[in-house]
Symmetry: C2
Subunit: 332 residues, 2 copies
Amino acid sequence: MLPFNSETEFTGWLARKSAGKARGLHLGIGDDAALLELRPGFKWVVTTDLSIEQVHFSADRHPPRSVGHRALARSLSDVAAMGGEPRFALISLALSRRVRRRWIEEFFTGMLRLARRYRVKLVGGDTALHAGRTMVDVTVIGEVLRDRAILRSGAKPGDFLFVGGELGYSALGLRLLRSRAGSKRFSESKAIRAHLYPDPQCQLGAFLAGRRIASSAIDVSDGLSSDLNRLAQASGVGARIWADRIPRPESAGGNSARSPGLSLALHGGEDYKLLFTVPPGRVELLPKRFRATRIVRIGEMQASRLGVQLVRNGNAVPLEAAGYDHFRSGKS
Amino acid sequence: MLPFNSETEFTGWLARKSAGKARGLHLGIGDDAALLELRPGFKWVVTTDLSIEQVHFSADRHPPRSVGHRALARSLSDVAAMGGEPRFALISLALSRRVRRRWIEEFFTGMLRLARRYRVKLVGGDTALHAGRTMVDVTVIGEVLRDRAILRSGAKPGDFLFVGGELGYSALGLRLLRSRAGSKRFSESKAIRAHLYPDPQCQLGAFLAGRRIASSAIDVSDGLSSDLNRLAQASGVGARIWADRIPRPESAGGNSARSPGLSLALHGGEDYKLLFTVPPGRVELLPKRFRATRIVRIGEMQASRLGVQLVRNGNAVPLEAAGYDHFRSGKS
């Protein structure tokens, strides 16, 4: 049985489910394209992110609400890392023929709940059924005041390096989901929640941009080691981080290796926390907490020739990018 | 062997291949998101379209240049149908692990060639390898003067109905590719070209919008019967078209059914020609040809209660939507 009788029925259903007005929205779902307008004095921040079954999610670990939530969260986090405010989203959905209508409904429930939290409007997309795996592509359009966007390339040696919140919980949550341990300890359910329903730091990003606090930023999507290396490379600088400063899970779910929490925080990925640099002269503008989020100084930028380093027990060692890379990973 | 050694290598390669400045582009490939700006007085036209292996293309019929070309053409055609001028594109690519680097290069050669023809700039995207089928999702952002966008909903009874160019050639081309007939007759190579390298009618769309000629428009992507029904429904009107006026292939490639060319033109799809309505008072502004494209009047809009009809040999019969529908078709 097909989940909807026709594209028209599906489009109508989705238009009703995401109905409502939004500033700057002139025409949403249902025509050849959406018609949007922006406030004068703003630039547009545009990003797109894929989520693929068996790569980014799997049917046995990720409930459909989580799949929809995570697919949108990835793009929202990119907009946050530019200091932008997300406004509109387009969703392309290549649906496996195995998928039931219930799955689609729950998927959009998860996605639209997160969209409403950040006042993001679903304005278009494309949908097709096929015999392969389900794939989602989310495009998010945001806005940022003309000269306030935070790029990856603005860090200077001497800038302090901060992270918004804790790292490694998403990777720990995935490990727990894989092991199906079923433990109900608080730290473990927190990790599972961090994995299934990550909260992109849209307000923190807009705050950092609006007050001109950050000199550069990136979101931690592939792992701190990978994303810090990207930030440093884009800025043409090096960086050093202190292992004992990195906020991370105490327990690492079962295994008792030496410091598994650190490894998860360094290479785990999918945390969607902002990693950003602040020049010494601006650091007093940065609060210790932003709403419920602790802002933690984990390192500093340094000369390019020193590279990217991890300082642990007094020793600085090179920190290689060891997070997720789609052209290297064996995951699929 | 992997097609690229890392995401960074791929991103760098693509950034070089699509390098160059563009008006309104502040930041393209390489950061968390693209930064774009629009001319004052314009709205943004935004659309996204999926192309999936075994649904929209197949490895044995579509060379990679055609896959890249067609994936972009679909979205450009949507922007054209709104009367917009395409400006920027984002490409998400879920690549099958079977794909070779040569395929990726040719894919982008085809896509970027079409992009350059219409001055469209590739500004971002996402790429992942996976074990399933290759999928492409293309988002195109265009601009249109604030009050000039052409919607599907603007047709009135009495408006004339036009099509830009000929219908059915793409479907004929696909039939020829499937039969591998290898014939080199001119009309057949024209059909194959129409299928592999359709030319979206961006300039015609912008002309119709700029002069306020069209009261409504849609592009023929799923077939005239389906897209005319959508246009009529969105406008709350009916329509009648004359079978003998529809510009279509004489031959229909082998089969000698009664009028196979008409069937291809009515239900074939993927022509990417503009179907639009013009109020009687504006019709004198419409040329018989726009550049190389013949503008053909194929019918008129009528009261909603009369429905959508095909007039053939003097008889008006209901014209049901019988083109492609992703929730009904058995294709995959």
